[in-house]
């Protein structure tokens, strides 16, 4: 039987992480769960451990991209065949894990991306975010030549080949989304979107606050541009 790992990146999610772990465990009892604690200042690690998850703790806060990559490195070292990634703030509905995994398990795709826009019941992001999302949706879809509706989604499932690929320096640790999809596409991995349900974050806390959206736009456009300039990665 295939070894499947669910990774949950978490930063200061002490109040919600236990519930997320319980819910993921309840719906997917056969999968291993690892919480990657990104140097939280609260009791995230303790609560996740008590809830029954393995916990990897960063010595200090290093950001979302580094956190998920730590999870990938763990999955690779422990010999997992498939990986599911779900956020620790309860935004992603764990009931959709089997649906997200199905095409990857069936070998129909290498990388499944959960899209909130293919599922009607998902929440609507703010106007500013929607504008940014529409721009990157258009850009990524054009460059990849495939319809991508939710390029910023952190709800993903993929196979061991992609896990190995993401543990190398090609993985963009600084906001990995649109440029990551492009890097995957250029390395000739198959990408497919799967409808999932996402809720608005309970605290409204987001990675994209203050000046960060501007930096994000700049970084993403630059990153996509240099990805296009790079030689195609054939290391896989």
């Amino acid at each position: 039987m295939s070894k499947i790992l669910i990774i949950i990146p978490a930063y200061n999610e002490g109040t919600r992480i236990a519930e997320v772990v319980h819910r993921v465990r309840e719906l997917n009892p056969d999968f291993d769960i690892v919480v990657v604690n990104d140097g939280s200042r609260d009791d995230t690690a303790q609560n996740a451990r008590t809830a029954g998850a393995e916990v990897i703790s960063h010595p200090f806060n290093m950001g979302y991209g580094v956190t998920i990559q730590t999870g990938y490195k763990y999955a690779l070292a422990e010999g997992y065949d498939f990986l599911v990634q779900i956020d620790g703030d309860g935004q992603h509905d764990p009931a959709f894990i089997p649906r997200l995994l199905a095409p990857v398990l069936a070998g129909e795709t290498d990388f499944a991306l959960g899209s909130r826009f293919l599922e009607e019941a998902s929440y609507e992001p703010s106007l500013a975010r929607r504008v940014g999302m529409i721009f990157f949706r258009w850009l990524v879809s054009t460059l990849i030549g495939e319809r991508i509706t939710d390029s910023t989604s952190g709800y993903q499932a993929f196979n061991r080949k992609v896990i190995g690929f993401f543990t190398t320096e090609v993985f963009p640790c600084d906001y990995p989304d649109a440029d990551m999809l492009l890097t995957l596409h250029r390395a000739e991995f198959r990408i497919r979107e799967v409808p999932v349900r996402m809720h608005a974050s309970a605290t409204g806390k987001s990675m994209h606050t203050g000046w960060k959206p501007l930096y994000y736009m700049f970084k993403m456009v630059l990153s996509i541009f240099v990805t296009l300039l790079r030689e195609k990665d054939v290391s896989r």
């Binding site: 010595p59 580094v66 640790c173």
Partner: protein, 147 residues
């Protein structure tokens, strides 16, 4: 020789002192291992260029004409700014590399910590010796394993 191609004596002395001082200080810092060789290159090259220009002032004048500047002092200021910019770029490159190395080290550290914790948990008989080698962090994270 045309006055345009000579440098006032005070200027010559001052430039010589500065270039020689920079050279000596940088070499000495490398000798005392306070500065790595890779960072000394730009400083040493600059001091040598200053030294040469004191005796070959006409080169500076030729350069001034070539880049279309009005006065040799403008050329000097321009190149000192370029020098500082190059230095900043060098630092940015190094910082990017260091950030990457710190990231990889921290990830490895986090994964090793988990492995050690699991080892300590799985081998209760030998846990004393292992906990000692794991250091105080592992003990803190596993209060139940404390003797």
């Amino acid at each position: 020789m045309d006055t345009m191609y000579t440098m006032p004596l005070q200027q010559q002395i001052f430039a010589l002192i500065v270039s020689v001082m920079v050279f000596i200080v940088v070499v000495d810092m490398v000798r005392r291992r306070k500065l790595r060789e890779e960072y000394s290159v730009l400083w040493l090259v600059t001091s040598v260029v200053m030294f040469v220009l004191v005796f070959r002032y006409e080169w500076l004048v030729a350069l001034t004409t070539a880049i279309g500047a009005g006065l040799p002092t403008t050329t000097l200021f321009l190149f000192s700014i370029i020098f500082l910019m190059l230095l900043s770029v060098q630092f940015c490159i190094k910082i990017s590399k260091l950030t990457d190395q710190v990231k990889n080290l921290s990830q490895e550290n986090a994964l090793m910590k988990l492995s050690i914790e699991n080892l300590v948990r799985q081998t209760p008989v030998r846990h004393n010796a292992q906990a000692e080698s794991a250091g105080p962090v592992a003990l803190e994270e596993n209060p139940k394993q404390r003797p």
